[in-house]
Subunit: 335 residues, 2 copies
Amino acid sequence: MENLICLTETEVDTFLPNGRLEKTKSLLKQSRQVCPSSFTSDAEWIELLRECNPEVLVAAWKTPSLPENLSEIAPALKYVCYLPGSIRHLVPRSAIEEGLIVTSWGSSVRRTISECALLLALSCMRRVRYWTEQMHFDGGWKTPETQTQSLFERRVGLHGLGLISQKLVDLLKPFTNEISAYSPSVPDSIYQDLGVSRSETLEDLFSTNDVVIELAALTPKTELMITEELLRMIPQGGAFVNVGRGAVVDEAALARVAKDRLDLQIGLDVYGIEPLPLDSPFRGMDNVMLLPHLGGPTTDRRRDAGDHGLENLRRFLANEDLIDPYDLGMYDRAS
Amino acid sequence: MENLICLTETEVDTFLPNGRLEKTKSLLKQSRQVCPSSFTSDAEWIELLRECNPEVLVAAWKTPSLPENLSEIAPALKYVCYLPGSIRHLVPRSAIEEGLIVTSWGSSVRRTISECALLLALSCMRRVRYWTEQMHFDGGWKTPETQTQSLFERRVGLHGLGLISQKLVDLLKPFTNEISAYSPSVPDSIYQDLGVSRSETLEDLFSTNDVVIELAALTPKTELMITEELLRMIPQGGAFVNVGRGAVVDEAALARVAKDRLDLQIGLDVYGIEPLPLDSPFRGMDNVMLLPHLGGPTTDRRRDAGDHGLENLRRFLANEDLIDPYDLGMYDRAS
């Protein structure tokens, strides 16, 4: 039995810099470090798995897929510590069914997503999208009629009050105390601890906030939940930001509302179809700010995902409960 | 004697909404409200001043200039409560010499400027300037090589530690504790209270921080103080933000550095010459984010300037010390 660390040099540098690789090895005791680019075929990878029969595999984007007959190839494998986000291409569903423990970067990405939400909210208030085009390509400058807005003392509404939203509340607090959220399943005690008011309905959330930030998880229930009717309820001069999942929003409706209501500012990092299609109506709209799904861990913060993986590795080896291990529901919901 | 409130309807709505006008009138007791656009000539304005001979004048952008022989026209005038920023076009220097008390929005604008600094710093980290062009006009999307950065745990250096910088520290604290500042005249106790480290030199500030934010006041000593040598010291992948005064920076050098060092991101709200000339080398650069001097009070926060004016008015009438009344030095330094 020999544990496996299967990472490229770049993956080591980005997820496990500054002694984290050494810490991983010292936790694992018996381990072999291999580089995915050294395999010339899938068969070679399968052979390595069979030969090492690891209890733990530390993996990232470039790690080759695990085979469907994993329990025959590597019967000792109990835990896959996947450092990035989405495990679907690496781990077959059958392995989760058979009890393989798998973790990913999970909640460690919450602060960069909340930072992206704040950036988009501030950008909407100052109309960064409009001014970038004006200043760079149209020789623009402000006029006495120029309207600008601040986030200070504005009413901010969050759809969803999970870990990312909770972190976002920290970032919003220096600007405003008027924060509300619609998230029926979250108990009152969490609202109270955060100093956030409960919106009883989405209609309430959209009609009484200057800035509405979309952070709800995508489920069959939330898909297309944000309708044209809701979007049109945002008060005059308001903003709508989405850093959660694009498919929660009726994007065709959002594009119509953006076109009709030039008083609204819209900031998007996520889309129903990614990459955003070339003919998306959002491209070119001067009241819609667009980022290419950059909310997740920035290059410099992937080490947070490494720390998260290391903590889970420590817990696994100490027989403690892991943070957010995959179950079949999470597996099926993952993108 | 009749006090004067000389504001347009728009100025009332923007500076004194939600009962603030009524509060102004109740503080002043005897007052007349006039609209600057009702005067058909300067002579009419002078006649009104003579007729009312106010002790207090509440003024804004559209209020006509006060005459050089003010003490003959309105000998009772003791206090001009100017609600916006720069008084040079309204009040002659001689009036300050003769003891007229004048206040402007002063430090009440600090939070929107600090907000603008945070917006530019976050925008530099995620390369908003670049992505705005890519997403809207070039059909762009991220690639596996895309590099992004966060403000979390970054080293931030402030040039200047006045009231705006101090407010900015509040906004930066949720992101990082590694904040330093170069501001020789500010005592250690303020650094300690803020949890900010002192940089002993500008070289130290520029070479040891990932994000350098320019907030120094413009004086003969600070003019062109930020040289090419300093700008080139910013570490790989860093950012330079200016929300203070453009003329503190050698802008020709900044443009050269921006062109040579595409790893640097630059965020500017202020310029040596404003409006920014059409042929400015900054226009079009894809690592330089530009705003048209929007840092000062946003339209929706001009009411903060109204509150500041009201507080000064209350203090004047109660014979208390005013907040930041103009002296000749401030008058001469004002833009």
